[in-house]
Symmetry: C2
Amino acid sequence: MPIPLEGPWIAGTGPDADVVLSSRARIARNVLGFPFVNRMTATQRREVGHLVRETLQNVESTDDLMWIDLESIGDLDRRLLVERNLVSSQLAKASGQRAVAIAKDESLSVMVNEEDHLRMQLLAAGMQLPSCLRRALDLDDAVERRVDYAFDRRYGYLTACPTNVGTGMRLSVMMHLPGLKITGDIDRVRRAAGDMHLAVRGFHGEGSDAAGDFYQISNQVTLGVSEEDLLHELGEQIVPRLIAYEREARDLLRRRNRAELEDRVHRALGTLRSARLIDAREAMKLLSRVRLGAWMELLDDEVDRTALNRLFLQVQPAHVRFGMGEDAPVGTGEEDGERIRARRAELLRTALTPS
Amino acid sequence: MPIPLEGPWIAGTGPDADVVLSSRARIARNVLGFPFVNRMTATQRREVGHLVRETLQNVESTDDLMWIDLESIGDLDRRLLVERNLVSSQLAKASGQRAVAIAKDESLSVMVNEEDHLRMQLLAAGMQLPSCLRRALDLDDAVERRVDYAFDRRYGYLTACPTNVGTGMRLSVMMHLPGLKITGDIDRVRRAAGDMHLAVRGFHGEGSDAAGDFYQISNQVTLGVSEEDLLHELGEQIVPRLIAYEREARDLLRRRNRAELEDRVHRALGTLRSARLIDAREAMKLLSRVRLGAWMELLDDEVDRTALNRLFLQVQPAHVRFGMGEDAPVGTGEEDGERIRARRAELLRTALTPS
């Protein structure tokens, strides 16, 4: 399977890219006349898969998507897709007919037969929730012209899990909050987010922790809130406020703890440039500090921000393994075995050492 | 006070220099007709000081020693001498007339009015106990031709503390044992040393801990053991065995944990080359790993062993402070304040980064 090389946020040039890695809009839909995925027969799964594939091919904006049948690819490839946030780990681990359709630039993916029949996901670099939402709604309209959705007049779009009923819409931003982490204010932010019915997740969404100080902030409520209200609340109020908090934390660190901050950032870079064995978790942690240093312009020798963003993906276990080709250790239990950790260290050294 | 620049072990070229930093013979003596130091009057202290100074000036091998009256120098200078192991911290902290006479190459120092009237100390690079002992006895003979020592026919030379009565001789080696530390065998070695009535001390002798994996091994017993027996036991049996243990530990690490060992060594060097703040303890710990790597030839780019040995002294608090000259923070309580830690990091970076 040819894996696309660059997610849209890799270049790191979107609005507010110092704090927001990417924005995402996700719509959950189900096809009328079929049970939810967890109750479907194998035949029904195939029928829905076929219907969705055909529909996407007939929609102009999705006619060149790469269709990947998850039953037909190996475990490593599935895990690669999870690490790139193109499919959920639930979809990767499930059994039965299931698929994902992906745009070559990774700005769009459609999961088929995950929890719902369709999960359409639009991605953009930096803080771009409005355009993500607009593109998601456009795609949804185009699909809806060809497919009857399960819809209830009173509740709205019906979904397998009640938390998605209504608009089926989830807006989220992946934020890099190392400043708030260092000042210790991140826990306050998490509590406040909970009070506002927001979900705070890690780099890989549901069930993952905040590796590398990345926090995915998204709405929990889909019922009784219009998309416009949601965009207003999250995109114009909450996220801008979080961005401001993070920048204030960075300013505070610069003013009050500059020497300690520089020490932390330079040590992280020094370790990444010299380690001979490193696991994914430590790599993420150190890359996070270097990213902070790069955006705060604390590093004497330039570290390329694009290279840095790419590394957050490349250090993930399946990515490292994929990069080793035929040299990769066989078996799935060795993700952080010595050879994988050595290879990870090597690629970090190569990418981060000035030539 | 002009501090000599190089201890004799700095070049790191002595025998068994991979494991033994330096060898030392120390003789404790008291002048007949005077009470021990802790019971002397100020006048008696001055008299003994005068007598010793005059005697050393009339002995050919000591006529060009630098005489330093510890009352006449500042606290920073006293601490510099302690950090170079030229005077004990007890002598530095004491009050009343006390002095040290030092050879320009630091291979000989004579403490006056420490616990005993005279503490003569001969130092050499690497494993050179026999020559240290010979030089110490030669000096002792030369002094004894001019000064009557407190001596008892039955016990031997009398000293303030009973542990030194007899020969008044202590032989010691400063060993670098990072291999045994990593394999965890160091505790076994310490226990065995205790069983053999050896003292195991840290980099700065009595009361200091094993910073940088340096262990000073010395005899405890001075009564009823001739110098020759002592030299035979320590120099031909115990120390060679410890050297062999350390080398075996290093070989074991090379064979079984090469990747982890290289990782540890390179990370240490990477941190030393990139930290912006560092305290003396961490610097010693990391330098120890780099020294191990340098002697095991695990480092791609050459790290100069002489530079490395010099750094073990230069990172000590008073040395860093001394190097800052007029920029040094005033007061003694700030030894590891931010400016000192920043300066230490800077000198490590400069010394260890290839030009």
